[in-house]
Symmetry: C2
Subunit: 471 residues, 2 copies
């Protein structure tokens, strides 16, 4: 990544795929430099225009305008796009974090004058960069987006808080406590300061945060302040560290990780995929990830299976990339939390994911039927000797081809850099939450004091807790 | 209602407003005859066209088409409307119920040959008739609707089940058990038969009912089979008889009652509204409705307050209508369940609702800010001697005018007969639930067997349980 090195491993993070997700960064550095270069150009243009636009101003209680006739026609005729205002956050919450990250790694000696020269380092939760960059683009470049950027908070339906919460978590990663490089940065202080800043904003106070969108990709991002921002739409990787009253499929968005393996662009089919099942990564994880060691024991002697404990090395990185591009199936066990970056590496590698993570939640499941691109295996089944390989060997090449076709079809959903990709699709999902957001805002205003024996929640519940998945 | 009399009182129903909601029906019979006449004309046209259209056929597993590019553009550009298929239900679940209702009242001696000559009787839960009639209309008359009717279930996003579940509940109302008129009809049998019929449909089995819409306006409608149909979007009046895992704001729709008082079309202002606060209805209700008797005691001697126990009589009906049209405020206490028809009578009367029902849920709260059209008073406050009248007397005529203006602004939301009214707005809300419906369908398909200590639910929770409402 040029001057700035990519983070090697997240500190407290559930980096379920340290080998592939973090280290592969350098392989695609050329592509990324181009992308980031473009983004910086966009920022420069934005800065120019912004000079003539009104800065953020406090606003009175008018967030919900009541032009009933307009509102209704809009909502289904799609005549108007959802309006998003991006806060002009103090640099402490954006570029300042990049700066600290670079300084902690010694690639930067001191703060720079022009923060826009700083490059966001590649890592698996770099989605936060792409959202920021998207809203910095002029509207003329955002034509296909489901949301339109507004420069006056009074016009906004939703407020985006572009904090680099995941990068903040790994600023000090790998640095010894008390090292001079670490001094001067605390993720926890950043979190506290962010909440203090937000709570001073009129737009936040007006609707209790319901109409805010906050990105927290790393399962540990913003962990200290989640309770204070939980009304907002949170962009998360999973609910592994979150209670049901803090985050849910209904209120929030499951984001994909930024894949760290290059997209496979070769032919479909199994001709060049001799390995049946591939896995490389950390054998030892906490909590749900304990299954990994058990899977190693069951699988490591099976023919056609490549399952390796990965440590960080150039050789292993090459092996992981090669492995995913030349295997029929890729094993996706849970990490410390149910999700892991590897799933998205598998998808763009067209290596059919075999998901062994009973509590996983998946991005874009409103439009993607994951049964058409992946296999789901119950943990207890996957641990039966011989079960998994027998199951996989029974899948015909025709079926694999069918799965690969669907995988290629959905690839764009997992490309943060594609204008028709992840960011656009997540905005679509956020925009679709607006009716519930407005409902909660109006409802909160008129609710009277009550004695309740349990939390006041509206839920979608599945009855399918006893279903056994099969091919 | 011509040959067919309107139901005087629901049997097990929480008819919180027997006096006004049910009895006022006859006052507007002329209007209704015209409306129903038009609807029948539409049905005739539909029957003609329908002859050339394919009947319902079982369908294969293709409900969720996976043209990803189309789907995404559609969803936010609003290029396509949500597609709804209305089941051609056996007449047992529609006209047959009207027939039984008429026979139980002696206005019909025997089943008729041509059921389309039967008129749906007016009552507070007659919304089910308007949804049925809406989907019977040819598309050329449905241009402004957020949903488009399809005649092939294969094309449908959603399936509407046009059962007259609320009318079924009151077929035998007021008839003595064992009376010859009652013989031959059982609401419970109807419910069981409906579920049996539904469960035999491919479209139902395919997605576990998630993509179905079922109307159950009366809080007791379908009570016997709710657990079997709870995946569907339920159109309900409140959640008084439903558990949180059966129904919620997120999954379902809160429908207004069909108002039974004529819409007030006179001038705004307080000039002709000398009464401060008006209530007429049943003083004695069960459960949450016990508050009514207590409110009577606190209010009946206050100056400017008209609060009367209503029994059914021509004189009282006239008084209720006159009272709502000539009072500044209308009291809306809970009935057996939190909602009551009276709220909608108040709204169309431009009589500012004073809501004393702590657990009430309100229709269209995503677009209507009820603080702008109503006052919310905590039950415990409302029971303090002098509290309510003092509060109401302090409201200036200017403030009342402002509330009345907003009331008139939202009136159309509560007019089932208005093409730009209730039915259209509920379809809009249903259409907006489609992303979550599709999410639940896809998710159910791939969920594996798990050991869960509590139900698998995704929720929206409010933290505002200690807020005291004020003007």
């Amino acid at each position: 990544m040029g001057k700035l090195s990519s983070p090697s491993k997240t500190r407290k993070s559930n980096n379920a795929n340290p080998l592939v997700c973090s280290i592969m960064a350098r392989k695609s550095s050329l592509v990324k430099q181009t992308l980031i270069g473009s983004a910086l150009f966009v920022i420069a243009i934005y800065a120019f225009f912004n000079t003539f636009l009104s800065p953020f101003a406090d606003s009175s209680d008018t967030a919900l305008r009541h032009d009933y006739s307009l509102r209704v026609d809009d909502s289904f005729a799609g005549k108007s796009r959802v309006k998003v205002y991006m806060y002009d956050l103090p640099k402490t919450f954006t570029y300042g974090i990049i700066e600290h990250h670079a300084m902690a790694r010694g690639s930067l000696d001191a703060p720079v004058d022009d923060v826009s020269t700083l490059r966001y380092p590649g890592h698996q939760h770099m989605g936060e960069w792409y959202f920021f960059a998207d809203l910095l683009r002029p509207e003329s470049e955002r034509v296909g987006s489901p949301v339109v950027k507004v420069t006056d908070p009074e016009d906004a339906d939703l407020f985006y808080v572009p904090v680099f919460s995941s990068l903040s978590l790994i600023v000090n990663t790998g640095r010894a406590e008390g090292s001079s490089l670490v001094k001067g940065y605390s993720d926890e202080d950043m979190q506290d300061a962010l909440v203090e800043w937000l709570e001073s904003q009129q737009s936040w106070k007006r609707n209790g945060g319901w109409d805010h969108v906050i990105i927290a990709g790393d399962p540990n991002a913003l962990y200290r302040v989640i309770d204070k921002v939980k009304n907002a739409v949170l962009l998360v990787s999973d609910f592994g560290r979150l209670r049901p009253d803090q985050s849910s499929l209904v209120k929030d968005i499951i984001m994909p990780y930024a894949h760290r393996i290059n997209t496979y662009t070769g032919d479909l089919g199994v001709k060049n995929r001799k390995t049946l099942l591939f896995f490389m990564g950390n054998r030892y994880r906490k909590e749900g990830g304990k299954i990994r060691d058990l899977l190693f024991k069951v699988l490591e002697k099976e023919e056609g299976v490549t399952i390796k404990h990965g440590t960080q090395s150039r050789e292993n990185r090459r092996a992981a990339s090669h492995g995913m591009h030349t295997s029929k199936f890729c094993l996706n066990p849970a990490g410390d939390t149910p999700s892991a970056c590897r799933l998205f590496d598998s998808i763009v590698s067209l290596c059919v994911p075999v998901i062994v993570s009973d509590d996983i939640e998946l991005p874009f499941e409103d439009v993607i039927d994951y049964k058409k691109i992946a296999l789901f295996v119950e943990t207890s089944d996957a641990l039966k000797p011989g079960y998994l390989v027998k199951k996989l060997r029974s899948v015909t090449p025709e079926k694999i081809l069918e799965l690969q076709k669907e995988l290629r079809e959905v690839n764009r959903y997992f490309e943060f850099g594609d204008p028709n990709g992840t960011v656009k699709e997540i905005w679509r999902q956020i925009a679709q939450k607006l009716p519930n957001i407005k409902l909660m805002i109006n409802r909160d205003k008129r609710i009277v004091k009550r004695q309740l024996s349990e939390p006041d929640c509206s839920c979608l519940c599945t009855n399918k807790t006893g279903i056994i998945s099969s091919l």
